[in-house]
């Protein structure tokens, strides 16, 4: 079975392509890219007026399986991903039990092979039980299929332990992803320290706590000459430190999430638990700095930190409500919003959502080069739509963007030459 996508505007940052071309996918791979391909016997899909990009890759999601299947499963989470235009997701290890041993990694991959609508790349814990005291078996985890290491949800509190992790990961070429948070400053906090904490009477989480943790990781990357990736950057100070570190040649990469470049702490006012997230939504100045960092290359990737919760965890007192929001189905439209506002080029947006995450995780995809995996996203830039609880595919409806009028949506998602989601 082969697919011929005809007449779409192909944007492939990995090759610097932005042109109207046909693309032929055969045997799960990109077979040809060119003008007016014949594609005999292939199923032809008319893509005139649409954008064709390498499949989008979300390097930071929570699929909640095993252990919290009432929030999300590998099946529903990847369906939401496919509906959002993603062809691959990397899932964080804070499941129950956590993905801190090869058996859990294998379980995730087995379920994914049976039920998933996208590729699934497990990220394993840095430390046993995410407790920060003992390294997991990096070699065993890598053999089982883990692509990266992170204690996401909590930082590794001890700098020496983080140093060991960065060093040991070099043996296996595994990227280490840091959830950068200085716990002693953030503990007990619920919203950004500043306007939100003052207005709501809640303990705040200071921006400087993120900066302190980011700086520590960067110094450890320098010390060990091992790459570190900073998850969900939310503050201007962290951006400035990362920009400085990149200039020094320190091996650091970074991601941010759509809510940090779209919303500010004001979204939480009125005790809106759907806008309770860690790191918290920050000030307008932080948001602007994040946008700038996306465009100038300081931030390498957009990742959603998709964190589904049921209303059991959200429909309660703000201080008890869980942190996190769903993002897979709105990420593309929110990134395109920056494009429409002139803050990003379309090609840069696709690099942030596809090419760069593939490079950071060292996984296939992120490119439409001949021979690459047949992972493709077809996007309608004009399509207007409104996210609602009823039309989200994720089990988690905890989105602060419900009711927003968005523009741009994936209309077809193709993984390994197979259509996994279509609105065409």
């Amino acid at each position: 079975m082969s697919l011929l996508l005809q007449g779409g505007r192909v944007i492939d940052p990995s090759q610097g392509i932005d042109a109207v071309l046909d693309i032929l996918i055969e045997n799960g791979q990109v077979k040809a890219l060119g003008e007016r391909l014949s594609g005999q016997g292939a199923r032809k899909i008319d893509c005139h007026g649409l954008i064709i990009t390498p499949g989008l890759i979300d390097m930071h999601v929570h699929l909640r399986e095993p252990g919290e299947e009432w929030k999300e499963t590998i099946a529903t989470g990847t369906l939401a991903a496919a509906a959002g235009g993603f062809t691959a997701v990397a899932c964080m290890p804070n499941t129950q039990p956590p993905n801190d041993n090869a058996e859990v990694t294998r379980f995730i991959l087995k379920k994914a092979s049976q039920e998933a609508f996208t590729r699934v790349y497990p990220i394993a814990c840095i430390t046993k039980g995410q407790k920060g005291t003992q390294l997991t078996e990096f070699g065993d985890l890598k053999r089982a299929g883990a692509v990266a290491l992170s204690d996401d949800g909590r930082p590794v509190p001890d700098a020496f332990m983080m140093r060991l992790a960065l060093e040991y990961a070099k043996n296996f070429g595994l990227p280490v992803i840091s959830h950068a948070e200085e716990l002693s400053l953030s503990q007990g906090g619920h919203v950004n320290e500043g306007l939100a904490s003052a207005t709501l009477g809640l303990k705040g989480i200071p921006a400087e706590g993120e900066a302190i943790a980011v700086f520590r990781e960067i110094m450890l990357a320098k010390l060990t000459d091992a790459p570190v990736h900073i998850a969900h950057v939310s503050t201007k100070v962290a951006v400035e430190i990362i920009r400085w570190a990149k200039k020094q040649g320190i091996p650091v990469t970074a991601e941010t999430a759509p809510h940090y470049f779209t919303l500010t702490e004001e979204a939480a006012l009125g005790y809106n638990t759907y806008a309770k997230v860690n790191p918290p939504l920050r000030s307008a100045e932080d948001r602007e700095a994040i946008c700038q960092a996306l465009s100038d290359g300081t931030i390498d990737a957009i990742a959603t930190d998709h964190a589904p919760h049921s209303d059991l965890e959200k429909f309660i007192e703000f201080e008890q409500a869980a942190f996190g929001l769903v993002g897979l189905e709105t990420a593309l439209a929110l990134a395109l919003r920056l494009v429409n506002q002139g803050l990003l080029s379309l090609s840069r947006a696709i690099a942030l959502l596809s090419t760069n995450p593939a490079r950071i995780l060292k996984i296939a995809g992120g490119s439409l080069r001949v021979g690459s995996p047949g992972d493709v996203t077809v996007i309608d830039l004009e399509k207007k739509w409104v996210p609602r609880k009823e039309n989200l595919h994720s089990q988690g409806k905890n989105s602060p963007f419900l009711g927003w009028e968005l523009q741009g949506q994936a209309v077809m998602t193709i993984v390994e030459g197979k259509i996994t989601f279509s609105r065409m």
């Binding site: 904490s197 003052a198 007192e317 703000f318």
Partner: protein, 319 residues
Amino acid sequence: MAFFNSRGQDMNASFTANHILDIASLSEEDIFYILKLALNLKEILHRPIPKVPTLRGKLVALMFFEASTRTRLSFERAAKSLSADTLSFTARMSSVEKGETLLDTILNLESMGVDLFIIRHAMAGTPHFVAKHSRARVINAGDGFHAHPTQALLDMLTVYQKKKTLSGLKIAIIGDIKHSRVAHSNIVGFRKMGSEVYVAGPATMLPLEREALGARVCYRIETALDQADVVMALRVQKERHGRALLPSVREYAQEFGLNLKRLELAQKDCLLMHPGPVNWGVELAPELQNDPRNVILEQVENGVAVRMALLVALLGGNA
């Protein structure tokens, strides 16, 4: 008594709020309406039989998830003098201990016919949450470190009675500003009415973010006290602190406690206020107990009047 706002306009407006969740969501008109109504209702408390039938048949639930003496009894007294029925709830010995969610607790009580919930909770935003999900009216009786709007209203009433205005005053709030919902609501309230609010205390309890509310943060207590019209001391809340934010209570009393000497900095006719309960010898020196500037017990009486006014405003009835 005539009521004028900070622009000198006569305030005879109507009341528009459905709930009393915080001072920020009340308009200047709402606040004057409540203060005026409270002054009218206060007279009832001085009658030989201090009770009127205004709220007969209304059911008020006192939901105190956190310890309280003054506020709870004050609300109960207010409800009873208006002939409302009351249900008293305390989290201990209730289904909360069996793991019932707050929402279920509220919906169950609503099914019993509750018209108004008075909520005290250790977590900020809880009254807002209840207001969002219940058909009944809600009054916030203190939520976490967030707001204590009825305390601020009774403080404003006390100041208005004595100073005949709420604008152009200098208000000094001294103490643990960080953990004080009273400070929060008073900063917002007095700023809204056109007065300046200075806050001072140990810097570990004096968050800069309070400036976002319009308060002036002072590190020298003298700066706050200088020529103040109103001096409000806050209780040192020992039970709130996860970690010691103070070397010792003794040091607090020495450095930040109010006494005759320190009060000399303020206006001669200043008002000395405290939301209670007072730690005598800590935030206030015992020599201030019978000082003519001390209006702490008048605050308490005004508390009943303000709460009566809020019940009438929210539940209707003709006062």
